[in-house]
Symmetry: C2
Subunit: 329 residues, 2 copies
């Protein structure tokens, strides 16, 4: 995120100086925000605020900055918990927080950061901000529940529509729908009704491309382990499409690995599966679906921003959304 | 909690009817609140509101009820995460949530309930309510960090003062300090400055007695497994005092068990330790400290409530606090 937002985030978090153990707590809360995430979502909040006519020199720009900081804090506490839920190894090129400090302390640090996020929302003073954050957390947690309960229940009898239901909840609200709405609210405008369908499509495009990058990405740029989704047993459009078309023996080998907990998975078989997926048409299929969703979302967004208070800023916002939904790093 | 509060809590939570998996999510959020906690803390909020002159027939009583519901929601999401952090087996006579659904889904359900808690606080419309809840979560998470990092780092080189530092943060704010303050705020009064020292002492008394009950309680009344703190390796005033006085071979046997993860602990040795603790003077010592803290806290609270808007209700509040700080079930 941009340095002025990181400074805002850190200004809310506890300072060291009471007991050594509490200094450790403060350091855990600061860790993920300081690892240098791209700040995609906070930039969307600010771009949307500008498109709705709010200028960075206006006194109420401060409210937009607090909401943008809150969105970053949201992502960071969610990532702490998400890394535990998926038992991820790395986050932004370093070990995940629970791998450094154990699961109990990491759950607690995520809860602490969650509460500080509300402090940022509260400080923004933007009417409607609280409700927008509540909706964002509710939808994200519902999507997360779908994703996790399929893993928990070893379910692979899922359709591409099930996957889209899941990612629209898990990814679209906090990545697109709510950042767009927060920008409008910060500018004193009512969020356009089309932000929801636009953001649901654009968020799905973003997540599908993230799933593709998880298989094909450059480890340096991607920041997570390549193939990690396979080790974590995540359902993706790629795997669900591939399962419909794969040779029976590959399918069986895949499902047998997916029944095993991560530490028991065979790295050799996982590497085979990884290659089968890359060699299949399923990656290209997923990219085609992502392109479709991106096109739909961009069309809706362009319509919604016709007559925007700041047309130049609206064009920039649409450009940023296009880059996000069609990114390849 | 009282039925009208439970109804309020449930009215905020998601209803079933979208997808079977999301019905499962809704059921997880409703589970702990419906297990019938005593509602001690929400009753304190309401008793404090009455003592500060707010009557149940006043239109603003509704704000007190939402804050009281929020306090119950706080306790429930914290318990979901706490049970994972301690790997507890039971909660209120049934298996802990993560033992029913696995750790990932339970972390996520706790996060969801946390967000719904803010909805209750927000609905209360009580000025100062947000800040009081923020402070409550921050202090509780700090105390929880102390407790958990001592377990994580296998630290037993702790003094009774370390223990008191920890429980004042972990227990006192959400059990006493903040409920007292919320009642004042709901009645439109500024919380008395002495609520903090009073509540810190009373909360410590409450927690020490909880630790005693964990060793000596009636399983039917207590709702958690007797001796569970030993299996979870929790630091208590009882164990820290006992370590200072125990015969070397008992001390060694205890520390050897505490170095083991819960599933590797020897139930026979844990049963021996349990008996050594009961036979030592350390339980009586802890009860004496609890009585001291309770007396200090009650004295401070009585002073703070001199000249309360509703003297009868203030006396009731003090009586409830006395029962809480000296409870034996």
């Amino acid at each position: 995120m941009r340095p002025e937002l990181l400074a805002r985030v850190l200004s809310l978090l506890p300072a060291p100086g009471r007991r050594p153990e509490l200094d450790g707590y403060a350091a855990m809360l600061r860790d993920y925000p300081q690892r240098g995430g791209k700040g995609i979502r906070s930039e969307l909040v600010l771009a949307s605020a500008r498109a709705h006519g709010l200028n960075p020199d206006a006194p109420t720009w401060d409210g937009a900055l607090w909401l943008a900081a809150g969105v970053e804090m949201f992502q960071n506490w969610v990532l702490i918990h998400d890394d535990i839920e998926d038992d991820s190894e790395d986050r932004r090129g370093r070990p995940a927080l629970h791998r450094l400090h154990g699961v109990p302390l990491a759950i607690n640090a995520g809860d602490g950061l969650h509460a500080y996020m509300w402090e940022a929302v509260w400080k923004s003073g933007v009417p409607g901000g609280m409700d927008a954050f509540l909706g964002m957390i509710h939808r994200t947690a519902e999507g997360q529940h779908l994703d996790l309960c399929w893993v928990e229940d070893s379910r692979w009898d899922l359709t591409p529509d099930d996957y889209l239901d899941m990612v629209r909840l898990k990814t679209s609200y906090y990545t697109v729908v709510v950042p767009l709405a927060l920008g409008a609210l910060a500018a004193g405008a009512a969020p356009h009704a089309a932000f929801e369908p636009a953001g649901r499509a654009l968020g799905a495009a973003f997540q599908i491309r993230d799933d593709v990058l998880n298989l094909t990405g450059d480890p340096q740029k991607y920041g997570k382990e390549i193939g990690g989704d396979l080790l974590e047993g995540k359902r993706t459009l790629i795997t669900l499409h591939w399962l419909e078309h794969a040779p029976a023996e590959q399918r069986e080998a895949f499902l047998a690995q997916m029944r095993l907990p991560r530490p028991d998975k065979d790295p050799q078989v996982i590497a085979d599966v990884h290659r089968w997926l890359l060699d299949s048409g399923s990656v290209a299929h997923a990219q085609a679906v992502a392109a479709q969703e991106a096109a739909l979302g961009l069309r809706l967004l362009e319509q919604a921003l016709q007559g925007a208070a700041n047309p130049d800023a609206a064009r920039e916002l649409i450009g940023a959304m296009r880059a996000l939904a069609t990114r390849d790093a």
